[in-house]
């Protein structure tokens, strides 16, 4: 969208609402377009194209933070939030198939509840996303710490139906656990942050609910030392389900867990405790809560930066970060992926430029600023590997109706 609208955001939202019949709702204090069906969404998109009004898909708005258009906008360029929370509901879940298909606005917690009776769980543990929507979780490309066992969530997206900004309704993939028919465009939409299309429905592979879960928590001196220990445990026990380091209020904990066959979990936990040494706390009945607590700590709610480092360099990187960061800065490290989330320093979004960013260049990648306007930190973000992203964005959204979303990350959840 190259021509900024002369109208105020409120006027634009009202205009789109009146033209399309789409209701205006309120999500986290934002006036938001809430289409009730695909036809209404198509009407909104059509009017947005005509009016040169950019749209910002926000799901339930849980990831907006400093991307809120009303808090931190660019002069003359304010995208109108749009949410699919009215398009909610499970479309198909057949016990024995191991898959679920639901509309994009379905709350994540509803999916959890729907699959539990058949002894299944979702392919990513995102308890902090329970109020988030399916479309938002997928659009923002999130994964849980249990990716160590199951892989990232994007690997378990089987198919999608989306609407392009020109109103084209299109599907890719399917609802089967194995399928290579056509291009995997759903992989492209997952994590695209709403810049290519608006997700209407998606199918996910499900995992078996484990017979037993067990977790541990071990205090360590600092993250650098904790990561060395984590690598040792990972090497000794390939069946770990999750392994994270958390630094909250200067207290550093190495936490991890197992899930699976009860007898195997029992045997493996002894091996882990022997490898860990020290005096770890061990959790059985509370393992699930422990896992959720640890996951919650990494829910991105309080973090501004997402760094990824090769595992063999991660301990050194953490040591340097700890030396530079104030003791009050929180850290969360997924030890299986080398992913480090760095907390906020202060509450002013304009001041979140990290002083340490230059020092990690060449050894780790600053994947993205979370919940902060990406364009403020464009020089710190990794450069696009090619022109492919631009070509794909222009190919699927030539009018740039959704392209506005590219300037703000982490929004669609």
């Amino acid at each position: 969208m190259t021509t900024p609208s002369a109208k105020s955001p409120a006027e634009c939202a009202l205009l789109l609402s009146q033209a399309s019949g789409c209701a205006l709702g309120e999500t986290r204090g934002l006036t938001c377009l809430e289409p009730r069906d695909p036809a209404q969404l198509a009407a909104v998109l059509k009017k947005a194209r005509q009016e040169n009004t950019p749209l910002l898909p926000i799901g339930s708005g849980s990831q907006l933070a400093w991307c809120r258009p009303d808090v931190f906008n660019t002069q003359g360029f304010t995208p109108i939030p749009i949410s699919l929370i009215q398009l909610s509901g499970i479309i198909e879940q057949i016990p024995g198939e191991g898959t679920i298909t639901a509309q994009a606005g379905t709350p994540w917690r509803d999916l959890i509840s729907a699959v539990a009776p058949s002894g299944e769980r979702l392919p990513a543990d995102l308890p902090a996303a329970e109020t988030s929507t399916l479309g938002g979780v997928l659009g923002s490309g999130r994964s849980g710490p249990d990716r160590m066992k199951y892989g990232p969530l994007r690997h378990h997206v089987l198919g999608m139906q989306v609407m392009l900004s020109d109103g084209t309704l299109a599907k890719s993939g399917g609802r089967q656990v194995k399928n290579v028919t056509g291009f995997d465009l759903h992989r492209l939409y997952t994590g695209s942050r709403g810049t290519l299309a608006i997700i209407l429905e998606a199918s996910l592979r499900l995992m078996a609910e484990p017979q037993r879960e067990w977790g541990f928590s071990l205090p360590v001196a600092d993250c650098a030392e904790g990561f060395v220990k984590a690598l040792g445990v990972k090497q000794a026990m390939p069946r770990l389900t999750w392994l994270v380091l958390t630094r909250v209020e200067s207290k550093v904990l190495l936490r991890g867990g197992l899930a699976g066959c009860a007898s195997q979990v029992g045997a493996d936990q002894k091996q882990i405790l022997a490898t860990l040494g020290g005096s770890p706390e061990s959790f059985d009945l509370e393992a699930n809560r422990q896992r959720r607590d640890a996951t919650e700590a990494g829910s991105e709610a309080l973090f501004a930066w997402d760094i990824q480092s090769p595992l063999r360099q991660c301990s050194t990187l953490l040591g340097e970060l700890e030396a530079q960061l104030p003791a009050s800065t929180n850290l969360w490290v997924d030890c299986s992926a080398g992913r480090v989330l760095v907390g906020l320093d202060g509450n002013d979004p304009a001041r979140v430029r990290p002083s340490w960013a230059e020092s990690i260049a060449g050894r780790a990648a600053l994947i993205r600023p979370l919940r902060v306007r990406a364009d403020l930190h464009a020089d710190l973000s990794p450069s696009d590997p090619s022109t492919w992203t631009t070509r794909l964005t222009q190919g699927l959204d030539p009018a740039g109706v959704l392209g506005a979303a590219a300037s703000c990350t982490g929004r669609q959840s």
């Binding site: 024995g96 890719s172 194995k178 290579v180 056509g182 195997q264 080398g338 699927l396």
Partner: protein, 481 residues
Amino acid sequence: MTEAWIDELRNIVGPRNVITGSDSLAWESDGFSLVRGQGMAIVLPLDTSETVRVMQLLAEEGVPLVPRGAGTGLTGGASPVQGGVTIGTARMRKIFSIDPIERTAHVQAGVVNSDLSLAAKPHGLFYAPDPSSQAACTLGGNVANNSGGPHCFMHGATTRHVRGLKLVDAQGEVLDLLSSHADPAGLDLVGLINGSEGMFGVVTEINFRLEVLPEEVQTVIAVFSSLDAACDCVSEAIAAHIGASAIEILDKLTITAVEDSVFAAGYPRGAEAVLLVEAEGGALEVQETIDLVLQLANKHEAIETRRASDGAERARLWAGRKGAFGAMGRVAPDLYVADVVAPRTRLREIVHLAVEIAAERNLRLGNVFHAGDGNLHPNIAYDRRDEDEVRRVLEAGRLIMEACIERGGSLTGEHGVGLEKMTHMCDLFDDADLSVMHRVRDALDPKRRMNPTKVLPLRACREVRNAGMPLSPMENPEGKL
């Protein structure tokens, strides 16, 4: 293309690595031998750098480009039906590095699938996707087709094992996505390229995720007096969330063909079906899984169950399974390998239908399939010199596909669309779905030079369904759509 261009290509890759004329006959088709085509040349670059120079040169010529691994594909995806130049990865055989900390391997695209697991073994690692052709097929070809294999039941198909890759597009530009990061920084282009069947460029290097060699592996064989019972046993095992790594079924014709061949595995010849289940992991969880398999097999009246006594017997059982396609050569000179996906709760119904469809057409059907994933391979033995038999084979293949789709299944589970199923894309997708795939393709290859006339129908579905025009290159071998 003139002789001058051929000379230019020879200058880049060396004279022996540009193949033309009668020497190029072996590249006329892949494993889907019903369709053949002859290109101008086959070029075998050594690495990314040579591939870039070749692609840049060919961009000036504007010729069609066909990427090719080992040519073991089964849908005609590597057949040069539009002519042009085939870019083969046969010389790209280097395993650059294996990183035991990251559990990754950086390889060239022409490395043979099974060679990677051999190289990873000293590090206590292995590469999980194991297509039946793993002793010959290349990893680049696996990426192009998002290949599967028996153990993908537990580990997932190729796309779940690719951390990054390097690709040369039709213009000779390099897309370097060989990042060591677990998540993409922007769009998941790696996910898009996996399974794109060579439509976006030539993959030259790949960074694969490796798995830790399991502490314990056990394989069990259950013999059934009916194919239905074997299918029902699998459906119940899936509903019980069985923790197996592979669940395979072979039927009577396949068992007989295997036992008559060099792949003889000790499958009981009189059996109507054999169920082969493997479990891997910790000793206790493996034991529990195997106990469950035996319990379910007995419930479904298996006439015999036994565990592989050692690694040698296990290897023999798997050699039989993976050699099944080759063994079918004893039944007839040609083999049509279908690849469809059935809902896992309707396995028995669809296998039954496939048997009926083949019987009605007097065809010899062997079923060997990844039952755990619902991925069926009804294999029809035939003689391509018999025109009527070829017609019946293609008809049966189409009807089996349609039956799967009608019941909520899919067109292909691991072989891809290629030429064989291109027009059948309209059975699963509508014009709008396909138009978006075309838009993605056009964004990345606007001149449509990469692997033309594959995967995506070039006409609207209504026209494709019009019986008055050629439906696919299979029915129009010159490829003039």
